[in-house]
Amino acid sequence: MDADDETTAAMIDDEIYANGGGEDENRNRPIISGEPLDVEAYASLYGGRTKISRLLFIAEQSRGCRNEAMELEALRMAYDEVKKGENTQWFRDVAQKIDGRLGPEYQMDLAWCESVDRRAEQKREKLENELNAYRTNLIKESIRMGYNDFGDFHYSHGQLGDAFKNYVRTRDYCTTSKHIVHMCMCSILVSIEMGQFTHVASYVSKAEQTQEALDPITVAKLRCAAGLANLEAKKYKLAARKFLDTGHELGNNYNEVIAPQDIATYGGLCALASFDRAELKACILVLLSFVFWNKVIDNLNFRNFLELVPEIREVINDFYSSRYASCLDYLGNLKANLLLDIHLHDHLETLYDQIRNKALIQYTHPFVSVDLNMMANAFKTDVAGLEKELEALITDNQVQARIDSHNKILYARHADQRNATFQRALQTGNEFDRDVKSMLLRVNLFKHESNQKQSKKS
């Protein structure tokens, strides 16, 4: 009898902790336990400037976490990439950061710097002469291309401000909408690199106005850029919508800014933090399509990062089916790698807090009373901490409930509308009273003033 009771009790407990219906299959699927990021695989997803800036960011963060192996790996790859380009400033930075730790091949190569600089100077003179010639000839198209070339030149040498200025100058010489779109895309690219996302937003809207010249890939790129701008502006709901709207036509076409996996990740996290249940369900379906597409591309070499995408989908699935403990666990494990992402880094804490709060609110929503001990178990925290979190949510008016601290129960509380209405009515009456009386008084005083002025005049 006793043994029976115990097992049934354990089973009941299990079910209660699960607190969700639906898919009961993989209760013991493999958890990615914060496997360190494969820097090479990660970097191969990108191209252009963003590759190097992401590598440098990873190196910076690893240095903060004292993960020297990862830092050196990132710096090594950055060095190789920078040497393929023409940005001597970056080269000097990377070499300095490496500080001789990677052996003689990865030292400061002043000769290379000087030769690149010399070539750059020559090229700049040539471009300037050409531009002046075009300007005197007043041929719009060549002037536009001249400024464009200048912009490209500055961009590849890391002078982002000058690049931006030159791209913007082409605006006056654009004759077709294709030109305008090209200008917008270049400006967006440079603005993202500079971190000036207000420009990104304005140029995205400018480009979207020229409907005719936009092919699906450009549309997808613009949506991505808009999503990034919203993310930086902390408008997570809008960002999620933009990212999920991007669709898989983007492919690898925008990897000088963002990889398709990133779209899924950013979009998924923002959606989790800000969507309601209906939108969340739609989000899961969109992310499913991402997974399919990626499997088609057959990137078997890049397993670790690729598997992040189905993880995000699983996280959202868990949240939707109320398996909060595993959802929050997964998120915790992914955190270390997500912190290395250049765009997510500043927002991860906020997003995680919002996700956790949403989980708490969603847990308590359907119940009239909730036992705090069981809730603490479901969220894998202790009762005192949970009480504090709930107190904050109640004060913020996100949960309508009250805590019975003696018995550790949360009771849902529905405001008595009738009483509240009476109270508000009486209060409004008092305020009206007070305001009108002081207004009448002031009118009287004004009359006095004006009477005095009248009598002074006359």
Partner: protein
């Protein structure tokens, strides 16, 4: 002089003779002033309620020059009797004289250090000279000063409960509201105090006066006690001089208000310590202490919103009190004052918070709602009449006539031609 007295006695009885009497008195004005205090015995021959006008003139002449302490004490009693019993109609003929007599009366009473003697007569005097209960006379602030000095706050409150709409002198209003605010603070009627002080701060003014500054300081403290918050931005209708300057002059108070909103009692107390001397000099130290205790109360009230039951120790911890015993005392006091609804279970050391038992179903509540409605309807009517009056005002019409749009000549013209300037 005897001729004058006879005249007064003769002409005072018939209302038709009063203008005549008034002229005679005006002519005798200078000679009366020359005699000054020596006229005092004349007063015994007159009856203040029948011969009010004459009595007034003679009294005014008596008090016109500076008096020594004994002379002052001799004058005080007849003046008080006069203020209590004079005839309203006769007084209305020479209001400025009456007001100046009352003001000097107040000075003598203060000189004799017996402000309480002046309270009742001054109240009577106000009633005599007011044209309606909504009228603010220059005597109102004097009366409130006497109440404050003699600590007869309840007498002051009886005047304050009447609404004021007509004002003779703006300066009177500012002083009235300031003193009124202080009386309300003394009686712990903080809502009315906030109203009055708000009126001072937002009154139209062209220069910053000391009254406005002091009123602003108290206003900050009282709104912290009453509302638990204070916004440094003054409403739009405040005069621009006030908006620009008040904040700079009252910097320590603004700092105090900012530390109150953080909710941390320790911070608030440090700021209070820092500026303690300043607060003391302004006589606001008591208010600051009340603000500190109101902070505890507010924190406990916030707890009632989130908890159904809470242990006394937890209350002490979250409100930053020192022990459960102190928490118990605070909660007990608040329950007695009706600020929260709760029961304390001493066995467990638990406090259960209850809902407001007011169900809005009782007769008393219905009466209250009904009277509110009546009052607000009356106010509404007042507003409409005021609107109508202004629409008929020639100056307003002239301005509107000047600025209105001109359409076609044949269009219906709402403003008559006479006002086409």
């Amino acid at each position: 002089m005897e001729v004058l007295v006879v005249n007064i006695q003769g002409l005072s009885t018939n209302p038709g003779d009063l203008p005549n009497l008034h002229n005679i008195l005006k002519q005798a004005h200078d000679s009366l002033h020359a005699e000054s205090i020596r006229l005092l015995p004349l007063l015994d021959m007159l009856d203040p309620s029948l011969h009010s006008l004459g009595y007034l003139y003679i009294l005014e002449a008596c008090t016109s020059s500076a008096l020594s302490k004994e002379q002052a004490s001799a004058v005080v009693l007849p003046t008080a009797r006069f203020m209590n019993s004079c005839s309203k109609e006769q007084i209305q003929l020479a209001p400025e004289k009456f007001i100046s007599v009352c003001k000097r009366f107040k000075d003598y009473v203060m000189q004799l250090e017996a402000p309480m003697r002046g309270v009742a007569p001054m109240l009577a005097a106000i009633r005599k000279i007011q044209s309606s209960s909504e009228h603010l006379t220059p005597l109102h602030p004097e009366f409130l000063v006497l109440c404050l000095l003699s600590k007869c706050y309840k007498a002051g409150l009886s005047i304050l409960d009447e609404d004021i709409f007509e004002v003779d002198q703006p300066k009177d209003l500012l002083l009235y509201c300031y003193y009124g605010g202080m009386i309300c603070i003394g009686e712990k009627r903080f809502r009315k105090a906030v109203e009055l002080l708000h009126n001072v701060v937002t009154a139209p003014m062209s220069v910053i006066t000391a009254v406005a500054v002091e009123a602003y300081k108290k206003y900050i403290l009282v709104s912290l006690i009453h509302n638990g918050q204070f916004s440094t931005s003054l409403p739009k209708y405040t005069s621009s001089v006030a908006q620009r300057n008040l904040k700079n002059i009252c910097q320590p108070y603004i700092e105090l208000a900012n530390s109150y909103t953080t909710g941390k009692i320790a911070d608030f107390e440090t700021v209070a310590q820092k500026y303690q001397e300043k607060f003391d000099n302004d006589n606001n130290l008591g208010l600051v202490k009340q603000a500190i205790s109101s902070m505890y109360k507010r924190n406990i009230q916030r707890l009632t919103q989130t908890y159904l039951t809470l242990s006394l120790q937890d209350i002490a911890n979250s409100v930053q009190l020192n022990s459960a015993k102190e928490a118990e005392m605070h909660v007990l006091q608040m329950i007695q004052d009706g600020e929260i609804f709760a029961t304390i279970n001493q066995k467990d050391g638990m406090v259960s918070f209850l809902e407001d038992p007011e169900q809005y179903k009782s007769c008393g509540m219905i009466e209250r709602i009904d009277s509110s409605i009546q009052r607000i309807m009356a106010l509404s009517r007042k507003l409409t009449t005021m609107n109508e009056n202004i629409s008929c005002d020639p100056m307003y019409l002239a301005k509107v006539g000047r600025e209105r749009q001109r359409f076609d000549f044949d269009d219906y013209d709402p403003v008559p031609q006479r006002f086409n300037i």
